[in-house]
Symmetry: C2
Subunit: 151 residues, 2 copies
Amino acid sequence: MKPETDELERRIQRFECELRQAGVKLTHQRLEICREIAGAGDHPDAESIFKGVRARVPTISLDTVYRTLWTLLDLGLINTLGIPQERMRFDGNTALHHHFVCTRCGEARDFYSEDFDKLQVPTCVQTYGVVNKIQVEVRGLCLRCAPTTDP
Amino acid sequence: MKPETDELERRIQRFECELRQAGVKLTHQRLEICREIAGAGDHPDAESIFKGVRARVPTISLDTVYRTLWTLLDLGLINTLGIPQERMRFDGNTALHHHFVCTRCGEARDFYSEDFDKLQVPTCVQTYGVVNKIQVEVRGLCLRCAPTTDP
DNA sequence: CTACATGCAAAGGGTTTGCACGACA
DNA sequence: TGTCGTGCAAACCCTTTGCATGTAG
């Protein structure tokens, strides 16, 4: 699950390069946070990244971790599981359907697709646990959030 | 987006029937919360369900809404967007991949599938906004949470 | 009648913010 | 050296919990 050493170095290089291009200062803290998330095989929350980095940078604070993660997210260098900055939301539609999710504002729209409904789980995934359903998540920007909408 | 009237009634019937079967009392509040979420075309959060129900049941409290929603979720009568009870989690893997998500504990594991990578967005969805990527979410229970693991 | 559900209010936990100090460029 | 980033602590918001009262079965 953890990336190979060379893949890890490639990711870190990319972080540094893109941060520099974006005019973001490469502080000791930011570099260590990048290293931590680049090397994480699972999908850590802010707290566990904080703990990992604190082993190397004892004075780091949790809010710096948050601020750095949102920066990386803005630049598209990392992703979130689920929808960023969102409270829990409920879906009363129990029929099989799929979602278009705006990664900026969190708007989620249902859609139906017989092709997607037919998807089969790869055999390797069946060893992960009991599969309940397969849902396709189309991620992007909704019309309100897409840059072209804003003249 | 909102369900047709007969589909709405069917959903409400199902809620009542399943709640009764589960031995959950059909209080005025619960029935109105069911009606609210059954009729919601979008994916409301607890607060907006609360507001909708409060128009008809002015004395209802937000915690009752939460408690009812978790009950409905336990019974599989509704779903959540994203992972229930979860804090925000980050993904340093920017390569195209897919997720197996445990809906109970929130564990999320990556997997790769060339078939899934090739999925094409239905044309109707392209009118929703700008598509960034397509990710398949396999939902189920991980080995730790699956009932059979617990003897 | 009795067990379970509700409303209230206060606690809890994750995330954000204002401000003065510190460090990259 | 100037500007941006950091650490601290308090604020903020969503969600949960304890307890006395109310109500469905």
